[in-house]
Amino acid sequence: MTSGAQMPDVAVVGFVEAPNVRRTDGTTNGVEMLVPIFAEVLEQTGLSRRDIGFWCSGSSDYLAGRAFSFVSAVDAIGAFPPVMESHVEMDAAWALYEAWIKVLTGEADVALAYGFGKSSAGDLRRVLALQLDPYVAAPLWPDSVGIAALQCRLGLDAGFWGERDMAEVAVRARAAAMANSRAQLAGTVTADELLSAPYLADPLRAHDCAPVTDGAAVVVIAAADRARELCDRPAWISGFEHRIDSGQLGARNLCAAPSANAAGSAAGADGVDAAELHAPFTHQEIILRSALGLPGSVRVNASGGALAANPMFAAGLARIGHAARQVMSGAADRALGHATSGPALQQNLVCVMEAG
């Protein structure tokens, strides 16, 4: 414990992500991506399926193009005899939040959260219009890149960041992803090379936008005694908070992320060595570093982050998993995982974890 506060009750003890790819030939119910990573995380922790007291998933029927797609995914967990199970129609980082509450209340001592998304089945930029205000925004079918680009220009005009700052975020993400064998986009590039490309949606270029990814992720958490049995160095959850900004895009301060700031303050973002930020656009990483008050010394997105792989409904959970891995491996004593949901960083979740 570094904070001297009361010993946290729950820790992350396992994390696996599926290979992040542009297109799988599996179904949109995720079973093909989930079966192998469940096996892998159970092997990693030495658990059997019957040891999991609570399962919680994050996915979206709009993305899958079918109703109740998460019910088919339940086949992958072997849900007979019946298991205790739940689902959120959002990034599985929020499924992990529900699982954390379940463990805190004592209803389960080991819980597993998973998220999956096969974005390649449809037109992701169009599907995401359905998360907008259904009266005055969604009927225009604004695409997700166009909206992020509105946010980006506000910051460019205000001098909060420049196109070169954004390109440098992409350069770092791709370089870091070279150490992550399951990343989708990795490599050595220079900001000059990236800036010579044409705009995708002025002022955003392709490198400013996360790739479209098919993928899945799973995180296992456990209560105190079980956590110590399952993992040499559990990543104890010392703060776990989420906040949301107004659904009215034009009423928000888009250059800041007030809800990320509030979640970070409440979760105790100070003093982390490493952070994994769910920033699907380069300028959003700059906003989040500032909103969370991360000094330059903090290692950000050692995994490559969402710019290297952005499986919808799993990328936020994977950020928490990668941050936990930093603690479990000993690379960090205190790490932060962040997840976002909604347009232009509308909703933000922060999970702070530390070594025991």
């Binding site: 089945a121 169009r126 009266y135 009927p139 695409d143 005009d157 107004s246």
Partner: protein, 341 residues
């Protein structure tokens, strides 16, 4: 490449390396929503070519109107007219418009602060080219010819030249009189989404089997249970079901219901029987029709056989089996299917 010597996979067109079956899938439906008092006024005014904002207690004017203030959560004090001209706060260029967007030629998305408003309205600007766009530029609405009380009543915004048209205001007054301001209380938003739907590898083998008149299930390597249609993973054990099993087209009715209610799209005349049929050798029943006898004769334990459509109508679909009919055999004993109910 030699196939595994598995009788179930040796169809001429079938190979384990053949990809899963996939097909385009278009989903379309309408969302019909009630507007509530604030948005009802906003939409009704749009149909009359007027834009309203909501005024909060602090004097800030939100456009589009906020049903509740995002900070204080108080309902608005009143709705007030804004615009029609406004200023672009930020914009982005859409070089390749997508289905359903306001314009079918390249345009800008923008947040537009209408004169008299304090927040930005998201809409499209018909700006011609990114070179012609700039933050701070003045724009005004271009109204749709047909208006129904929707954000789409504003076709888009366009660069403002000269003072806001007085003629437009006159037109509007006429329109108001003509419409008599019948409040618009509902909106309908059509949704259309396109996907490439993919069957699982197991479902694909099942569907390709059907195209050859076979019913192919799969056995769980852990518990030995046979699932048809195959599911990809055993719901008991959570492991992939990897062994194919060809099943006969005979089975037992485990349970059934008599359908007496006609509905749209029904392809069989009522009354008829929808039953759970447990194929011989399977561990999970599947639903099908039982025809060829009086519905009153169908019973639990009745032995049935698949009636296939003519071979030239077969495809990779379960519809190749038209229905099941009684075999005339003695009923199966209850114990033989009791644990499949």
């Amino acid at each position: 490449m030699t196939e595994p010597s598995d009788a179930l996979r040796n169809g001429p067109s079938d190979s384990p390396r053949e990809g899963p079956l996939s097909a385009p899938l278009e989903i379309s439906f309408d969302y019909t929503r009630s507007l509530g008092p604030v948005l009802s006024q906003f939409m009704t005014a749009l149909a009359d070519r007027q834009i309203l904002g909501s005024k909060s207690a602090d004097g800030r004017v939100h456009v589009p109107p906020a049903e509740y203030d995002p900070v204080t959560f108080a309902p608005p004090e009143e709705l007030v007219p804004v615009g029609p001209d406004g200023t672009v706060q930020t914009w982005s260029w859409q070089p390749a418009p997508r289905d359903g967007q306001p314009l079918n030629r390249p345009f800008a998305w923008a947040l537009i602060r209408l004169d008299g408003a304090d927040t930005g309205l998201l809409h499209a600007v018909d700006g011609g080219s990114p070179d012609a766009m700039r933050t701070g530029m003045r724009v005004r609405p271009r109204w749709a010819a047909q208006r129904s009380g929707s954000i789409r009543d504003i076709e888009c915004f366009e660069p403002a030249q000269g003072p806001a048209a007085a003629a437009d205001a006159a037109d509007r007054a006429t329109a108001v009189d003509q419409n008599g301001r019948v409040p618009i209380e509902m909106i309908t938003t059509p949704i259309r989404l396109r996907y490439q739907h993919t069957a699982s590898a197991e479902e694909s083998r099942y569907l390709r089997g059907l195209a050859e008149g076979k019913i192919v299930g799969q056995r769980c390597p852990a518990c030995g249970k046979v699932y048809v249609p195959p599911r990809g993973a055993c719901p008991v054990d959570g492991v992939p079901t990897s062994t194919d099993v060809e099943l006969p087209d005979t089975g037992t009715v485990t349970t059934f219901c008599v359908v007496n209610v006609p509905f749209q799209g029904q392809r069989v005349k009522v009354p008829y029987v929808a039953a759970s049929v447990l194929l011989d050798g399977a561990d999970i029943a599947f639903q099908h029709l039982v025809l060829g006898c009086d519905p009153g004769e169908v019973r639990m334990g009745m032995r049935v056989r698949a009636v296939w459509k003519p071979r030239d109508q077969w495809g990779t679909t379960a519809e190749n089996i038209d229905h099941f009919e009684p075999t005339g055999e003695q009923d199966a004993p209850y114990e033989s299917y009791a644990h499949h109910l």
